[in-house]
């Protein structure tokens, strides 16, 4: 559906994005992840034709954005980082304006009513946008992107500045959109992306550092399993004992807890399961395990790792 090839955008000597290529299939929900200033907005602005690339091409449903801008743009609904709202208009008037601007060929009144229902702003229809709260403005921006049911929907940080309840609603909305539309949305909050997306592209300093399915990403990067323990007893003895177990690569005491116990993190090869061995070892030296949790590396840590890696690479 969307085909991005060797996209580069330079501002003088600074490269905002550097040779990015990826494609998005129909019906896919793609998360665009990266720290602030990584080039997410720039990429989205190029895909939607707001700014041009320095080199490279973007094709939306077979239409190249610079060669057939009208055709390509009519297939995209875009919610930029700051919703493009005319604060002097009422919600309905604004949506009518956008409806005409986008040359939508659907029954106007019914379509706008339907969209307003989807993002639940029908009660605000006749209020002036300038008087609405941030959450409602964001939804009006959302409604604007949905007008005409475009096959591609691009959302730039749609949940910034919303309260937790609204974030959950927006996330649900994105999920439901994914059934009928191709969605790209960006965020610098991982949990949000992992909750709503099929696939994640991690971008840092203008380069793609990872591109994988959400569940694959953890496996690709962690390179092993981890165990989190709370054990009572002498820290040095406990660390020594666990280190000797087969498969264990690293033991780290995280911090002392009250009552003579401490939290440890154990890293081990993914093909062995050391939980039973750890239990046995702790029983031998008479140190009771108070808590044991296994888990992959969290996405947050992975994300940090990824972005740090790519930064290290730059300096070499």
């Amino acid at each position: 559906m969307i085909e991005v090839k060797n996209l580069t955008k330079s501002y003088g000597r600074l490269k905002a994005i550097d040779n990015i290529s990826f494609s998005v299939d129909t019906g896919e929900v793609l998360g665009f992840l990266g720290p602030n200033g990584a080039g997410k907005s720039t990429t989205m602005n190029i895909i939607t034709g707001y700014i041009s690339s320095s080199s490279g091409t973007v094709t939306v449903d077979g239409a190249e954005i610079l060669e057939q801008p009208r055709k390509a743009k009519s297939k995209i609904g875009y919610l930029p980082e700051i919703p493009p709202l005319y604060t002097d208009m009422t919600v309905r008037r604004y949506l009518e304006f956008m409806f005409e601007l986008k040359r939508v060929k659907l029954p106007k009144r019914e379509h706008i009513d339907e969209i307003m229902r989807v993002v639940s702003i029908n009660e605000q229809a006749d209020r002036i946008i300038g008087h609405l709260s941030k959450g409602f403005r964001q939804r009006v921006g959302f409604a604007q992107a949905l007008l005409g049911n475009p096959p591609v929907i691009i959302l730039d940080e749609p949940t910034v500045g919303l309260d937790p309840k609204q974030i959950i609603e927006i996330r649900k909305l994105i999920r439901s959109l994914g059934k009928k539309h191709t969605v790209i949305f960006s965020s610098h909050v991982l949990s949000e992306i992992s909750a709503a997306c099929d696939r994640i592209i991690v971008i840092n300093r203008g380069k793609i550092v990872a591109d994988a399915k959400v569940d694959e990403l953890a496996g690709v990067l962690s390179g092993g399993q981890r165990l989190s323990l709370i054990v009572e007893g002498s820290p040095s003895a406990i660390t020594e004992e666990i280190k000797l177990l087969p498969g264990v690569t690293r033991v780290k005491k995280e911090r002392e807890l009250s009552g003579g116990s401490a939290r440890y993190t154990v890293s081990y090869d993914s093909d062995t399961d050391v939980r039973r061995a750890v239990f046995g070892a702790m029983a031998r030296i008479d140190c009771p395990i108070l808590e044991m949790k296994s888990g992959d590396e969290s996405l947050e840590e992975m994300f940090l790792k990824l972005t740090e890696q790519s930064e290290g690479g730059d300096e070499e």
């Binding site: 501002y11 602005n45 939607t48 034709g49 707001y50 700014i51 041009s52 801008p69 009208r70 055709k71 743009k73 009519s74 995209i76 875009y78 930029p80 700051i82 493009p84 709202l85 005319y86 604060t87 002097d88 208009m89 008037r93 304006f97 956008m98 005409e100 601007l101 986008k102 040359r103 604007q144």
Partner: protein
Amino acid sequence: MIAIYRRELSAYFNSAIAYVVLAVFFFFSGFFFINYCVGGNTTSLSYVYGSMFYIIMFLIPVLTMKTFSEEKRQKTDQALLTSPTSLTEIVAGKFLGAFTIFGMCCSIFIIYAIVISFFAQPQWSVVLCTLLGVLLLGAALIAINVFISSLTESMVVAAVIGMAVGLIIDTMSYIISLIPVGWIADTVSKINFLNYYTNFTYGILSVVDVVFFLSVTALFLFFTVRVLEKRRWS
């Protein structure tokens, strides 16, 4: 284009701008009309037109200052530029919006002519010709000011520069008289707006004058499109 045109008009009337501009225009034109025509006992509206020139200089920048600067500042240009509408249509829609308000202002001259016709026969050829001249002059000034607005994010800057340009256009004859080198003065006087405008006030409709104002309008609208295009590429 029609969507943008309608949105522009509604923006003018949703804010105070349209009302203030119309009120100021009607007030001064009425003032001059009473003074020159009623007070001076003449059917000629040319003095009224002449004096309104200054008012137009100040009102047009106010009318157009928001067109592109505010869009850029509020980031609403993102909606326009990512919609399946070409830059030419966007610029044309905005230009026509401002021009319509200006046309509403100028329609008052017809009413004055009708008022005169109750007492004496106005020279309709002069009245209509001058009206056409004012409209063409206004179109050119609106195009220049729309262009200025596209260059900045601040509407105050746009308005001030627009007024400065207006003053330069207005004092062009004086500036030209100060240029000591003959051929430069001749060349500059070729773009003296007043030269082309004056013929209309005599009731002379000349193709050269019409073409001059239309070309200035087209040229600056084209420049505006280029500015928007350039912003996309830089």
